[in-house]
Symmetry: C2
Subunit: 417 residues, 2 copies
């Protein structure tokens, strides 16, 4: 029942951790579930998109030179020889003086090299004001008048203008955005190779705990870490396995440490007391590489391995749990999933309205509010005061070689959302 003989620095802990981090293997999933996933391989297209020249305006496909000299006061007649609709092309060839009605996206008819927009064409109406032409049914054989000119290529989208067959359209490591999903679909990729999501087993220990959502009573408290860590793991792209609370006994913890998972996060019992079983058990069954870190909160944090599994021992206090998760476990989950290791928080620069002190040799995680653009450090209790992280807008890190920041100093604030 002593303190840690020697604490690792955060940098030392991260150095060990980063040596362990390898992106997981790829898996193939349906495109419809791929948004937000990380591409495992470069994707190239083996088709042109579009696969044919097409109209980019509603109007009339024609030989551009047929419109030469046309204008509002020098209308040129053109005979409509058919139409081309998206997916339903005109199957003849357009000659000089002819036009094919086209809708946006329709294949360009053979022979045509431009589209005269509908605004520059007027329908001649042999059937009177209520005839079929007026109603929009431009029957082949009717005439239109061109009221303007177009040059070759005008309002034509060329085959391959979006994507040329053989080009790489998205690179490995990319987190797929909505438009990427659209693009992959447009080249016919119904199945996508993405980095497998890390499986993360949560082992929440503490005989004083009641399951999440239970009303606390007597000397029992309701588990906050299980649901909080579940949400964090999912945010970082992991798949949570949280089968319920784990009893504080050797066998239950050993079983959890051997879970079928890439990462095991043990919450609680991570310190050096006799009842803190997890560190000893990790050391016995695997490797306890780091135990005790010079930071506040989260000092009683442990990092290790057991077989292929990365093990994170997080303190039971919920603020410590959040902080240690963000520094270590979250980083590993993101890295295994092929994501950037950096925090998923935005940061801004702003001035402190009150100093933050911190001893040299220890990194501090100070929760802060933003008040009128200034950074207000929260006067918080200990690591057990979870509401300090819900009242806070974010946090400021005081590195271990710093004594803190003076009032008025400009600092980086990491915003919780």
């Amino acid at each position: 029942m002593r303190g840690f003989a020697k604490r690792h620095t955060v940098a030392q802990a991260l150095q060990w951790l980063d040596m362990q981090l390898r992106t997981l293997e790829p898996e193939t999933i349906p495109l419809s579930t791929a948004a937000g996933r990380v591409l495992a391989r470069d994707v190239s297209s083996d088709v042109d998109v579009p696969g044919f020249d097409r109209a980019t305006m509603d109007g009339f496909a024609l030989v551009a030179s047929s419109t030469e000299g046309a204008g509002p006061y020098s209308r040129l007649p053109l005979i409509v020889v058919g139409d081309s609709m998206p997916g339903r092309p005109f199957d003849g060839v357009v000659r000089s003086g002819e036009a094919v009605r086209v809708m946006t996206g329709a294949p360009m008819p053979g022979g045509a090299d431009a589209v005269l927009p509908a605004e520059f064409a007027e329908v001649e109406d042999p059937d009177g004001p209520d005839g079929p032409a007026k109603a929009g049914h431009y029957i082949a054989g009717h005439y239109i008048s061109a009221l303007g000119t177009v040059s070759p290529g005008k309002h034509v989208g060329r085959r391959g203008e979006d994507i040329t067959s053989g080009t790489t359209i998205l690179e490995r490591g990319r987190t797929l955005r909505a438009q990427d999903i659209g693009l992959l679909s447009s080249v016919g990729q119904g199945q996508i190779s993405v980095v497998r999501r890390p499986r993360v087993r949560l082992a929440i220990t503490g005989n004083e705990l009641l399951p999440a959502g239970t009303r606390p009573a007597g000397f029992q408290i309701a588990d906050a870490n299980g649901p909080m860590l579940s949400a964090l793991v999912e945010r970082d792209g992991g798949v949570v396995d949280f089968p319920g609370l784990v009893r504080d006994d050797r066998q239950s913890i050993v079983d959890a440490l051997h879970a079928d998972a890439d990462i095991v996060i043990v919450s609680g019992g991570s310190s050096v007391g006799v009842e803190d079983l997890a560190p000893t058990l990790v050391a016995e069954h695997g490797e306890l590489a780091v135990h005790g870190i010079a930071m506040r909160p989260s000092s009683p944090t442990g990092l290790g391995r057991l077989g292929h599994r990365l093990i994170f021992l997080l303190p039971g206090n919920p603020v410590s749990s959040l902080c240690a998760y963000d520094f270590f476990a979250g980083r590993a989950i993101r890295a295994l999933g092929g994501r950037a290791t950096a925090w998923p928080y935005r940061s801004i620069r702003a001035k402190l309205n009150r100093k933050i002190s911190s001893p040299v040799g220890r990194l501090d995680y100070a929760r802060v509010r933003l008040e009128d653009g200034l950074v207000e450090p929260l006067a918080v209790g200990g690591a057990s005061v979870l509401s300090s992280t819900t009242r806070a807008d974010g946090f400021v890190i005081v590195e271990d070689d710093s004594e803190g920041f003076a009032e008025g100093a400009e600092v980086d604030v990491w915003l919780y959302d």
Copy 2:
């Protein structure tokens, strides 16, 4: 087959839209699924957290005055009368000169008002170096020596220090973060009242379309909008109903417009051609409030209602679809779901390395890349070139009262991720 007689401005379209937007009713869901959801009601706690005074360090609970005068060279003996573990309190009362071994989180024993940290206590070892005390089993009746002093209240977390019964812990409208979920759990809230997620029916029309993920062939193209819009709707908190492509015929579209949904998004056939059925059908069966918007791309966009449903008619061109979604449909989905209407994109200020021109009277959505901190407008084809939005890092908006930006001008760039 004419252009729009008159286009609405984006501001006019948004004005109409914003009048329609009401936050949906609450629904009650399990806490475990509540991360990222929006609270429908203020949540207050009806318990204190913690519900009892507790130790915040491993050590010995005692009457603080028992340590008076203790120091490394003036060790004070204390008799250990029992222990208090988390969830397993000591049930006696501590008197002066006595100590109860405590673990972090353990209930403070009656009579004790401070915790002497383990580092400031040394175990006297009547049983020799291998006796039970050395092994960590501090049997009641053994002695420890205090090597330092503590003042009353030291290392004690007071009942209610995290949350006091009766206080509001989270306010309605809040998007729940991981730590909020932990906090809700700690006060025993297993069920949470959140804003219902809007149900969004996607009606992707176009007889030229093949289902998403199909290899395009001949004059058919693969649907890009269905999967892209699905991902966007989910990003914005909506629930997607996308039962497959909708044929370009009146009945199929009418059926889709009457879907059991809060919002219907029709993709394709949104312009003024004869084959553009959706606008006419919305006007016939409901209200077509806005049709044709002075923006590029996405000019052929329509907004309307049909019964309780908000209807969005998006152009089939995928860039137009993305842009019109972001301006109108996404805004509505976020608002119905109780979220901020603002874009979910971060923006930064940066300088243009090339001018952007745009006619007055039209809003432009210009895709850009960031190159060495400068904003490079992409030389893009038309609204059908979806790859322009995957090559881009984001976009710049040129408002309709602007002619654009000169080279070197500082602009807001909205980042796609």
